[in-house]
Amino acid sequence: MAQMNMLHAINEALSIEMEKNQSMIVFGEDVGHFGGVFRATSGLQEKFGKERCFNTPLTEQGIAGFANGYAAAGLTAVAEIQFADYIFPAFDQIVNESAKFRYRSGNQFDVGGLTFRTPYGGGIAGGHYHSQSPEAYFTQTPGLKVVVPRNPEQAKGLLLAAMRDPNPVVFFEPKRLYRASVGEVPEGDYEIELGKAEVVKQGTDITVLAWGAQMEIVENACKKAEKEGISCEIIDLRSLAPWDVDTVAASVKKTGRLLINHEAPLTGGFAGEIAATIQQECFLYLESPISRVCGLDTPYPLIHEKEYMPDEHKTYEAIKASVGF
């Protein structure tokens, strides 16, 4: 095991797969020689050449369309969208094309070898165009897998699995953790299965569920709650599409309570989907209403970032409210 940050772990995953899979290319804005604005692709052009790791012109629509074409030829494409906020020019290519290649052709064509990597989320003083968490737009699109890692170890294992998954994957990377999250990462090749949640901590009173950068926040909130004698079970969903209903339902049946935390606005966010499903699965086990701690229903503000965020204080209060219901 080696200590590394999340960027380094992502870089390792890309490098391992490029080594193994000669068809794999990595591309996007500033991705080539410079290694991307966050430096996730540093050194890949030197190692694998300009044909396999390169800058594209500044067009997300073009990047996604190109990626679709390359992957439809049976090859592996890993496209970087510089910020998740800028994935929207590529939206049509992703939700109408990547997602539907297989279905519309009766499985004659698919873009399984395609992964979109994109940094998402706030907490970096980026205002509303460098901070969005647009995962819910993609979870509503049948045919796409959506994955969000929480730390370096998860990032490497999940990305390796995503690149090898026979379906297009949108891989959201929590940018505020890129350098901040440092941890032990297994050497060499390993995969973390997509579609499986992880029970990060066992508990008995309430299930607290999050993904990506919010995991750190719910863990802190749970620590506070534990000091008051509330035992929290913490789950990292990891994959949002498809998501692991069984693991979450089993946990809620045990604890009787569920709190879901995400950074995206409350309304229409993925927490709503989870709450509805778990209510159906666990209705007779629930001892309090499923609660959601999410971003406000406003665009992401700059100066009031702290107020906007579903932070540990809000989460802690919601845990207490749920347990004391």
Partner: protein, 392 residues
């Protein structure tokens, strides 16, 4: 079939066109030493206009220098400079009427200044205080001013390009003698929105000036990796648009081209594309380190083409400026910027009630509920929310 789309020339042997078939000259009026080319036709410019242009140049240089410094000291979170591109931005802004609507990318604060945006207001936006027109919602430098016909900056690149086409079409339909002016970089010109916007302007005859600052880089990506054709100008021609390429470091050339572009756009109700060839002397932004992708020699070479210096020499040659006056102007703006920083820094953040405003024209019931819960929460944890606690 309409004649406009048919070419009656026929050939009987395969003969391809390539980018060399399209000869695009570059307009240059001012030489490095501040004299004009012998044959050059000068733009409309008198001493008053020249002074205003130069004044804006100095302000912009000083602002950029100081605010980059302020960012390094951690006083603001982010900054982008216009350094090296002052002639492109100010020369074009100076050709406009105040009623012309500007849709900028993000590096054109000099155009906003030319229109009269006060120093304090620059600071209010950069410090996200309660007097910021944008109510502290955007990163520093994302200005906007209704009064000055300068639409608020949006970070997603190129989205302003088709919007400019729509703005200009609206001006035309209302019978206004005004155009829309749209700034963007050569990088942004790769986006789909660029192509959509230009095509619609040409077809719908929308009096728009598309102003491309071709400054050599889009973050780390050099133009060779951005496009393979003959710059951005060739695309204007391709869309059937009046097009000109100018030396973007030549204040007089930019001014001349934009003055005539404006006259043309109004007279013919048609769009014009201007490609200004320049160089981004500074880093992409305060978060970027250009040493990872370009050489010091390259930067030094472009320092020689400093557009402000060239224009200053012209002013001196004309007897409209002298070194002492220039030094005073710099000093005046250094003091003005510094004192504005101090004032703006002390003003509080916008009130927390504003967080739910302007999502819609009126906050929805759900938003009101979220705000009242938020305020209750802040009262419980005042230390966690220093920007809003104690003012609820």
């Amino acid at each position: 079939m309409s004649n406009a789309t048919t070419n009656n020339d026929t050939v009987h042997r395969v003969s391809f066109l390539d980018k060399a078939s399209l000869h695009i000259p570059t307009l240059r009026i001012l030489q490095a030493d501040g004299t004009t080319y012998e044959q050059a036709v000068l733009p409309n410019i008198d001493q008053e206009l020249a002074n205003k242009i130069y004044d804006t140049c100095v302000f912009t240089r000083v602002l950029d220098e100081r605010m980059l410094g302020a960012q390094r000291q951690g006083r603001i979170s982010f900054y982008m400079t216009c350094t090296g591109e002052e002639a492109a931005v100010i020369g074009s802004a100076a050709a406009l009427d105040d009623g012309d609507v500007i849709l900028a990318q993000y590096r054109e604060h000099a155009a906003l200044r030319y229109r009269g945006f006060p120093t304090e207001q620059f600071m209010n936006q950069m410090f996200s205080n309660e007097k910021d027109f944008g109510k502290g919602r955007q990163m520093p430098i994302h200005y906007g001013s209704q009064e000055l016909n300068y639409q608020t900056i949006s970070s997603p690149l190129a989205t302003q390009i088709p919007q400019a086409t729509g703005v200009a079409y609206g001006l035309k339909l209302q019978g206004k003698r005004n155009v829309a002016v749209c700034y963007f970089g050569e990088g942004a010109a790769s986006e789909g929105d660029f192509h959509a916007g230009l095509n619609m302007a040409a077809v719908l005859k929308s009096p728009t000036i598309f102003f491309c600052r071709n400054n050599g880089y889009a973050i780390s990506t050099p133009t060779e990796e951005q496009y393979a054709g003959n710059g951005i100008a060739s695309r204007g021609v391709g869309y059937g648009m009046h097009t000109i390429r100018v030396d973007g470091n030549d204040m007089l050339a930019v001014l001349a081209a934009t003055q005539q572009a404006r006259a043309y756009a109004l007279e013919h109700n048609g769009p014009v594309l201007i490609e200004a060839m320049s160089y981004r002397l500074g880093a992409h932004s305060s978060s970027d380190d250009p040493s990872g992708y370009r050489s010091k020699e390259e930067e030094a070479k472009w320092q020689q083409h400093d557009p402000v210096k060239r224009f200053k020499l012209w002013m001196i040659n004309k007897g409209w400026l002298d070194e002492a006056t220039d030094a005073e102007l710099h000093e005046k703006y250094r003091e003005e910027v510094l004192s504005a920083v101090k004032t703006a820094e002390k003003l509080p953040a916008p009130h927390i009630d504003e967080i739910i405003e302007d999502v819609f024209d009126k906050p929805t019931p759900a938003l009101k509920k979220q705000l009242s819960e938020l305020k209750e929460h802040i009262n419980k944890y005042p230390n966690a929310y220093p920007k809003s606690a104690g003012r609820i």
